[in-house]
Amino acid sequence: MRRSINILNNTDWLTVGIYLVLVILGWINIYAAVFDEQHESILDLSQRYGKQLIWIIAAIVLAIAIFLIDTKFYSFFAYIIYALSILLLIGVLLLGEEIHGARSWFQIGSLNLQPSEFTKIATSLALAKYLSSYNLKIKSFQATAWILAIIFSPALLIAIQPDMGSSLVFIAFIIVAYREGFSDVILILGVIMAVLFFLALLLDKLIIFVVIIGLALLVYWMLSRSPKKTFIAAVLIVVPAGLLYLLSRLELIVINSYYIILLAVAVALPFYLIFAYRKRIWNIYLILLLVVGSAAFTFSVDYVFRNVLKEHQQHRVNILLGLESDPLGLGYNVNQSKIAIGSGGFAGKGFLQGTQTKFDFVPEQSTDFIFCTVGEEWGFLGTSIVIGLFLFLLIRLIKIAERQRSDFSRIYGYGVVSILFFHFAVNIGMTIGLLPVIGIPLPFFSYGGSSLWAFTILLFILVRLDATRMELLK
C-alpha cells in the first residue's frame, strides 16, 4: 500500500498531462476532419470520432494496467517480449488480413490489430536490455552486429508486408545507440544508407553516382587539404568518363549512361589503390570503400525493387514514396495537404469550418494527414501549439531519461524519445511538403486504436519506470 502511494507521488504528472492534452486535441480534430452533419454527436459510435473515444478510454485503462505491473517485469522479460513480437510479425505475414495490398493486420472480431505498432515497444525494451548489459563493449564488432540485428530484424519483416512507413521508423533507434556510444562511423553509414535507399527509388542512378563521387572527392579534399591531389583524383575519373561519353555520343559504342560512371570508377580505382598503398594513407581505403559500397547498395536496392518485388508491391512502395497514387499528377496529396494547412492562415477558419479536410481534398485526413485539420481550422496558432507541445514532451522525456539511475530505464527512455520524434518529424514534415509522403501516424493524434495503444504503452512504461527510479540505489 505504501509503495503504490509512493508511485503516484513520484509520477511525472506533467508528462501525463501533456499526453492527455494531445490525445484530446487529437480526438477533437478527428471529429472535425470527418465531421458529418448527419452524425453530429462526437459520441456517435458509428463514426471515427466515436470509435476513437473508445480507443482513448481503452488506452487509459492500458496505462493504468501498466502502473500495476512491477518495473522489473520489463527488463526481465525484454527479450521474451521481443521474441514474441518477432513471432507475431512472422505470423501476420502468414495469417494476417490483407488490407490495401499489405499484410499488416490481425483481424480479431471487429478489431484490427497492427503488430508492427507494438514491435516498436518490444524493440525499445530489447535494445535497452542489450545496451545495459554488464561490461558491453559497444564499439566492438560483435556488439555492433547485435545492435543492428535487434533494430533491423523487425524492420525487415515489416518491410516485407510491405509497410515501408512503419519499417523506416526503426531507423530512429540509431539515436538510442548513438546516445549510448555507438560508433559515429556506423551512424553516418546508417544515415548514408537511409538516404541512398530513398534516393535509389526516387532518383535516377546516374545522378546518385555522380553525387556520391562528388562527395567522395570533397571528403578527400577536406582530409588531405591538397587541391592538387584532389584535382588529379578528379581528372582520373572525369577523363575516362568523358571519353566513354564521347564515344557513345559518336555512336561508336552503345552504353548505358550510368555504366559510363561505373567503368570510369573501375579504371580509376587501381590508381587510387596504388597511391594509397604507397603513401600509407588509410583514409583513402575508407573513402573508396564507401564509394563502392554506396554504389553497390544503390544498385542492389534498385535491382531488388525492379526484379524481386512484384508489380503491386512496387506500386505500394511508389505510393509510399509519393511517386504514384495521384489522379491529378505527381505530388497531388502533398499539394492538397499544403493547401489545407496554408488556407488556415494565422488564426484558422474555426472549429468545423475547414473545407479541405472535411471534403476529402486531403487524403487520409483522420489518420496520417490529421495535422492538416489542425492547420486549416486552428491556423498558425494551432500548429505552433501542437508543435510546441511535442517539443516540450520530447525534451521532457530526454530529461526523464537522463535522470534514471538504471541504464535500462535511461536507454528505454531514449527509445521512447526516438520513436516519438521520428513519427513527429516525418509525419509533420510530410504534411507540409518537407519530406516525401511516408504513411506513419502522428503520435496520440491520428485516428487508430493500434497506434494510440502502442504509443500509450510505450510512453507509460517509461512513466512507470520513472516513478520508481528512486528505488534503485546507486
Binding site: 473545407t355 492547420g375 491556423g379 498558425f380 507540409i432
Partner: protein, 606 residues
C-alpha cells in the same frame, strides 16, 4: 559518470532544430503565403446559377407574342457514372450507342467531376419518360432551361431573337457568362435588361468528388433569381399578321404608326422568316440557310433600307415652300406634260393644268413641284443657292430625315439628306444651282429615307406638323411609364396651318376622280394618301405610298414600299388601304382588292 552523456545535447538539439524548421515553414505557408486560401476556396465551392424566366412579350391588345417553354438539357458528370443499361437509355433518347460513348468521352475530356451538357434541349415528352428512370442512370441529371415560343410566328424583325452571348458581350458586361442567352435584335435586344431579369446563385460546398456537402455560409451569399419583366409591345398582332400576309408576294416593307402616340402598330419586312425557326435544336441549321438566302430575310428593310421617297416627298417640299412664303396655296403653275427649263425636261402625266397647290398634290404634278423647289432655292432672302439649300435642309431634318429617330429599334439607320458640302465636293463651291439638284423636288436623286422615317412622315402629316418618336414598346411591367423621349412631341419647323392644304390634296389623291391613288380608297373612311415611285438602279421602280386615316383625328399612319412594284398606285396604295381598313374597322370592304394584292400579279401583266 556516463562517458557519452554530452550526446544528449546533440539529440536535444536535433529535436529543437526540427521544431524550428517546422515553425518557420508553417509561418511561411500559413501567414506569409496567401495563395493557398484562394486555392482552397475554389477547391471547395460550387456556384450554381439560377436562371430566371425571361419576360413575356404581349401585343397592344394583350395577346401573347412571345412566351417561354420549358426545355431540358441532359447533363452528365462523368465521375459519378456507373454501369447502366445503355439499351434502355438509347431507346429513351433515340440516339445510337456509339453517340452515347462519344458524348461521354467528350464530357470526360472537359472534366471528370464537373457536369457538362450531354444532350441539348430534349423535349418535354422525352423528359417525362426519362425522369421516371433517371435513378437508374447515376451521373446524369436534367437541367431545366427555357426556350422562346411564338404562338403566332409573326413579327420576327420587330421581336428579334435571343442567342448565346458572344465573347464580346461577356467582355462588355460581366453579368453574362458563357452559355447565357441574350437578346440579339429587335425588342429582345432593346429591352434586354428588363426582359432578362437577374440571375440568382446558390453557392454550395462540395467535396473532392464534386458532391454537394452543404450550403456556403449557411446560404448568406446566395441570391434569388429575379424573374424577367413582361413587356407590352405596341404591335397589333392582327394587323401585323395581315400585313405579313399582304406582303407574301413582294419584297419591301409596311410600317404603321399611331400618329397620336408614335406607337408602331406593325412593322412588316418582306421577305421575313418565322421566328420559331431560330429556336431549339433546329436553330443552327436554319440560321445557316437563312444567311445563305439571296433575298436576305435577315435584312430589316423597314429600318435599314435607304430608298428614294419619290413623289411622297412633294408633301414635304410643299409645306416648306408655304412656310418660307415663296408660294401660297393659291399659286398656280402650268404643266406642259412636264417641266422644261434650260434644256432640261422632267416628264409629267396627263392631268388638268394649271393646278393650284391642292390640285398639284392630288395629281402629283411634277412640273408644279419643280417650280416650288425652284422658288425655295432662288428665294431672294438668301445670298446663294447653297444658303437657301441649307435652310431647306434644316426644314427637312426637322421631319426626322437624315438622322436617327432615336426609336427603340437598335438597328434603325439614319437615311441620307445631302448637305451643301456634298454638292460643293462634286460640282465645286458656287457651281451648282436649282437645276443641278432639281431631282430633289420630286423626291428622287440623292435622298435616302428608311420606311420607318416615311411612316413617321405620314404620322407628321396626320398630326399636321409634329410627331412622337416611333417606338415599339408601350408598357414595361413594374415601370410607371416608358422612356420619356417617347412622350415628347417633336414639332417640325413648319407651322401647322400649312399642313391643312397637304391633307386636302392627299384626300383628293385617294378619293377624288383623277386622283393618283384610288386603289387606297376604303368605304366610309377618308384616307389621305400620296403615291411615290422611286427610280432605282435595280430594275423596275419601287412602288411607294404614304397615308393616314381618317382625315380628322387620324388613328393610323402608314408607309408602304414594294420593291420593283412600279407606280405607287399599283401595289403600295392598295396595301396601305387594306391595312388602314383592317386596323380601323377590322373588316375588308373590298375583297377583290385583297385578292388582287394576294395574287400579286399586275393587271397589265395578267
Amino acid at each position: 559518470m556516463n562517458p557519452y552523456a554530452s550526446r544528449k545535447y546533440v539529440i536535444g538539439g536535433i529535436i529543437i532544430l526540427a521544431g524550428i524548421i517546422f515553425l518557420v515553414r508553417l509561418f511561411l505557408i500559413q501567414v506569409v503565403e496567401s495563395s493557398y486560401k484562394s486555392t482552397a476556396e475554389s477547391n471547395a465551392r460550387r456556384i450554381e446559377i439560377q436562371y430566371p424566366a425571361r419576360g413575356l412579350i404581349y401585343d397592344r391588345k394583350g395577346e401573347i407574342l412571345v412566351y417561354n417553354e420549358a426545355a431540358y438539357d441532359l447533363m452528365v458528370t462523368p465521375g459519378q457514372l456507373q454501369a447502366f443499361d445503355t439499351v434502355d437509355f438509347c431507346r429513351i433518347l433515340e440516339i445510337p450507342r456509339s453517340e452515347v460513348i462519344r458524348k461521354i468521352e467528350a464530357a470526360r475530356d472537359y472534366s471528370t467531376f464537373k457536369p457538362s451538357i450531354f444532350l441539348r434541349q430534349i423535349s418535354s415528352i422525352t423528359y417525362a419518360v426519362l425522369q421516371e428512370k433517371l435513378y437508374k442512370f447515376p451521373g446524369f441529371f436534367v437541367q431545366p432551361r427555357t426556350l422562346r415560343k411564338y404562338p403566332g410566328d409573326i413579327a420576327a424583325h420587330a421581336l428579334g431573337f435571343v442567342g448565346e452571348v458572344s465573347e464580346e458581350d461577356i467582355e462588355e458586361n460581366p453579368y453574362y457568362q458563357m452559355g447565357d442567352y441574350i437578346g440579339v435584335t429587335g425588342i429582345e435586344l432593346a429591352y434586354e435588361e428588363e426582359l432578362r431579369g437577374n440571375k440568382g446563385r446558390k453557392i454550395y460546398l462540395v467535396d473532392v468528388h464534386n458532391r454537394i456537402k452543404g450550403s456556403y455560409q449557411g446560404g448568406r451569399s446566395d441570391r434569388k433569381a429575379e424573374v424577367g419583366r413582361n413587356v407590352v409591345s405596341t404591335i397589333d398582332a392582327g394587323l401585323q399578321e395581315y400585313g405579313e400576309k399582304l406582303m407574301t408576294k413582294f419584297s419591301g416593307s409596311i410600317v404603321a404608326i399611331e400618329p397620336a402616340t408614335g406607337e408602331v402598330l406593325s412593322l412588316v419586312t418582306s421577305p421575313a422568316y418565322e421566328p420559331s425557326l431560330l429556336v431549339g435544336r433546329v436553330r443552327s441549321e436554319n440560321f445557316r440557310q437563312l444567311s445563305a438566302d439571296t433575298l436576305k430575310p435577315w435584312f430589316n428593310r423597314a429600318l435599314m433600307a435607304f430608298y428614294a421617297p419619290g413623289s411622297t416627298f412633294k408633301t414635304v417640299n410643299g409645306v416648306i415652300a408655304l412656310q418660307e412664303g415663296v408660294i401660297t396655296t393659291a399659286s398656280e403653275y402650268y404643266c406642259d406634260l412636264g417641266f422644261h427649263m434650260g434644256g432640261y425636261s422632267v416628264a409629267c402625266h396627263m392631268h388638268p393644268s394649271p393646278l393650284d397647290f391642292r390640285g398639284a398634290v392630288q395629281h402629283s404634278c411634277n412640273a408644279y413641284f419643280n417650280y416650288v423647289y425652284r422658288a425655295i432655292l432662288i428665294d431672294p432672302k438668301f445670298e446663294s443657292t447653297a444658303e437657301a439649300y441649307m435652310n431647306w435642309r434644316e426644314h427637312v431634318l426637322s421631319f426626322g430625315f437624315g438622322h436617327y429617330l432615336q426609336s427603340d429599334f437598335e438597328n434603325e439607320l439614319t437615311g441620307f439628306v445631302p448637305d451643301d458640302q456634298y454638292y460643293n465636293n462634286i460640282y465645286g463651291e458656287g457651281h451648282w444651282n436649282f437645276l443641278t439638284v432639281r431631282s430633289l423636288s420630286i423626291g428622287q436623286g440623292e435622298l435616302g429615307i428608311t420606311p420607318l422615317q416615311m411612316a413617321n412622315l405620314a404620322a407628321t402629316l396626320a398630326n399636321r406638323g409634329f410627331y412622337y418618336t416611333p417606338h415599339v414598346v408601350k408598357e414595361i411591367e413594374g415601370q410607371d411609364q416608358i422612356d420619356a423621349r417617347f412622350l415628347e412631341r417633336h414639332y417640325t419647323s413648319v407651322d401647322s396651318i400649312h399642313f391643312a392644304a397637304v391633307a386636302d390634296g392627299m384626300e383628293g389623291a385617294v378619293n377624288r376622280s383623277g386622283g393618283t391613288s384610288w386603289r387606297a380608297r376604303i368605304a366610309d373612311i377618308t384616307v389621305c394618301g400620296k403615291t411615290g415611285t422611286a427610280e432605282n438602279p435595280h430594275g423596275e421602280d419601287h412602288s411607294i405610298f404614304i397615308a393616314f386615316a381618317p382625315k380628322d383625328k387620324p388613328r393610323i399612319a402608314i408607309s408602304v414600299y414594294v420593291e420593283n412594284g412600279g407606280f405607287g398606285n399599283i401595289w403600295a396604295a392598295p396595301i396601305a388601304g387594306l391595312m388602314a381598313e383592317k386596323y380601323l374597322t377590322d373588316t375588308i370592304s373590298r375583297p377583290y382588292m385583297e385578292e388582287y394584292v394576294l395574287r400579286g400579279v399586275r393587271l397589265d401583266q395578267q
